[in-house]
Symmetry: C2
């Protein structure tokens, strides 16, 4: 006998988790399609060199990497961005630009497992490449907004900022050369607090004044509205600039869509990676800020520079689906409660099983998810326990003259007609 154990950091998804997960993915896909985004898929395994590029970062240690039977150095993808960049380099002539794709799929990282962190998890990425303008930025933000709405989440806030505006400030302060270190430090503000952030900034800039200035810049949006913050930051950076004009345009477009209230300008958002060049954003659930950002991203000016010469500017987001699911669970989302295997359980009569099969077919034609209890002549206790385990709300039994249906939570009996009404059968 082999112990049916699974690997550390991995897990099974049982129906009670998998049913809502699939529902959520469908809702997101429906939103994405309604915006004209199209799905792609890429191999789980790629050449390590293709995935890691020159490598040397944190990712290298976390990657699942091995020699395949043909001696090739291969690895499992650790995100969906790198495969997308490789994909665009391979297919950009065929798919054309602008290209708007989404990709919902598993990725693998050998991190040390901790609460809510797994070595196998699902990413949901969506990007627009081949366009660099306010309308594209806005389309991504609007789609994020619509995505959270579609999941029935009511209270969320997008924290947005612009790398270029920060760069303009750093340039004015003569700090451009230290930009990468400063960005990485500022990115940790939420985690390490302002005292520690200041200490680090003094270390980097060598000046308490400069550190205070940066802190003032990144907290400028704290108590002011979006446009007011833009103006404050412009004042701190020596006036309007290309990046702040872009933010003004985006805000105008968001307002015309009537969704501007979900966005706050938060200049402490920098998204550590060098990769971003324009807007950057994170998404927090108002009732669960502690779990951190559930949807993040930004604008970059060159997606696939590792693989092709042509520049591909873009803007994109990534939803950590497992983190979002954990959040929905804490928020007691009704979405996660809809886990019934079927609407109706039909109990067959021994030696006359065809009746149950036919009735189930009749119900399915009416749009009802009907399931036949597959053990004819079972004890009622077993049947009830089955219905409970599978959270099936209604049960149909045959009588001498026809059938009757029981609401399993209220124990109320009803006719087929009444039950069909309650179950919202198709006409």
């Amino acid at each position: 006998m082999i112990d049916p154990v699974i690997l550390k950091g991995f897990r099974d998804s049982l129906p009670k988790d998998e049913i809502p997960k699939k529902k959520i993915m469908r809702k997101l896909e429906d939103v994405f399609s309604s915006y004209g985004f199209v799905p792609i898929d890429t191999p789980v395994l790629e050449y390590t060199e293709v995935l890691l590029g020159k490598g040397g970062g944190e990712t290298d240690k976390q990657i699942f990497r091995f020699s395949d039977n043909g001696g090739r150095d291969v690895a499992m993808r650790f995100d969906l961005t790198v495969p997308f960049a490789r994909f665009m380099a391979s297919h950009h002539d065929e798919v054309g630009v602008p290209f708007k794709r989404y990709h919902i799929s598993k990725v693998w990282r050998g991190e040390n497992p901790q609460k809510g962190r797994y070595r196998e998890f699902i990413q949901c990425d969506f990007d627009i490449v081949g366009a660099d303008n306010a309308i594209s930025d806005t389309e991504i933000l609007s789609m994020m907004h619509k995505s959270f709405q579609s999941l029935g989440i009511e209270r969320y806030t997008f924290h947005i900022s612009h790398r270029g505006m920060f760069s303009a400030y750093l340039e004015k302060e003569g700090l451009s050369e230290k930009a990468v270190d400063i960005l990485r430090t500022v990115d940790k503000l939420r985690k390490i607090g302002s005292d520690e952030t200041k200490r680090l900034l003094v270390e980097i800039t060598g000046s308490e004044e400069k550190a205070d200035g940066i802190l003032a810049f990144i907290t400028a949006g704290k108590d002011s509205g979006f446009m007011e913050t833009v103006e404050k930051l412009e004042a701190l950076s020596g006036g309007r600039n290309e990046s702040s004009e872009r933010m003004r345009e985006i805000y105008t477009l968001l307002s015309s869509l009537g969704i501007e209230k979900s966005f706050v300008f938060d200049s402490s958002i920098t998204r550590g990676l060098d990769y971003y060049t324009g807007i950057v954003y994170e998404t927090f659930l108002d009732d669960l800020p502690s779990i951190g950002s559930v949807c993040s991203g930004g604008r970059y000016n060159d997606l696939a520079s590792l693989y092709m010469k042509e520049k591909l500017p873009g803007v994109g987001s990534s939803i950590g689906l497992d983190r979002l699911l954990a959040a929905l669970e804490e928020l007691k989302s009704p979405l996660l409660a809809e886990t019934a295997s079927a609407d109706l359980l039909i109990i067959p009569v021994k030696r006359n099983e065809s009746k149950a099969l036919e009735k189930a077919e009749e119900m399915r034609r009416k749009g009802i998810r009907a399931e036949v209890y597959l053990v004819p002549d079972a004890k009622m206790k077993k049947i009830y326990s089955y219905a409970e385990t599978n959270r099936i709300p209604y049960m149909l039994t045959f009588t001498d003259t026809g059938c009757e249906i029981k609401n399993l939570s209220t124990r109320e009996m009803m006719s087929e007609e009444e039950a069909l009404l309650k179950l919202g059968a198709d006409a």
Copy 2:
């Protein structure tokens, strides 16, 4: 610059392939849910020992296997059956029986790539475990029938047979001990033809008469109806037996559902694996028999014997989704033609982009997939080429007084109202 090359036997899925693939998976999932089947998922990586058991088979050479960073001997799953068996051993108390699951996901095998065969491919499995009776067998067969219907495939035939009936015959002939070899040989009949099959059977049984007898048994259904074949086989095996009674019951149930015409009794179907103990079946497309079976499976009497003592009888099927997709392509299925990124392309006006974004939102509220062309002020030639690449049927442009819509294939202009009707907008 790194060459954006992918591994031999792997491939990208472009929108034109991924859109229909997702549509097909949804249709199948909808059918499965309507029967009360529930989805599960399992890790892509597992301990090699768990996946291979005692090992030693063909699978061992084909598996993607390696040492992870913690020195564990791990492998990527090569099918969805073994992980399901392990899953049931881990969770059978929690999920209860009967348990009806489906699982649509990727698996990996390092086979030598050939036409239509890849190292990464999608399986779609569905099983009922914890019940051994005609009603469960019928439910699986009925669901297979419904699945093909849902994909708009009209002409398909399920070839079904029963391992127990063959065993009864072999027992009567004193050939029980050679059953495994005989089953494997018979399984190849379709591939190698009856002369070569006979030659091999003579070799195994050491008797031309026995070989002829087996050949007569496995071709008994050739020109006769389902029940007639059952009777013939019973006569060859010394009368009715438990297995033939089960086939009679199943046929009666299929008939009561009115779907019996899609099933032929074909006793040459054995499904090589020792694993099966009851009905076994394969599915052929009448207009494309050459691609082989697109959905196969059968009944087994013990799913998880490697991992648990309790016996778990079951019945299940597996659809090779990639093979099915290839078939649908050859059959010119309309499903594969629905690959438009959106219903409507909206062309923004430079310096007044909010109009396009608002219009798109209005359209989406009406259930129309509306996409904004994200390059304001682009040349019409570029826009047309974009619409063509993305197979978008309608285009909206703003005029001084409102907007107009063009059918891009007929070049016909129409009002918004007319277009909404054509696009089937929600009221």
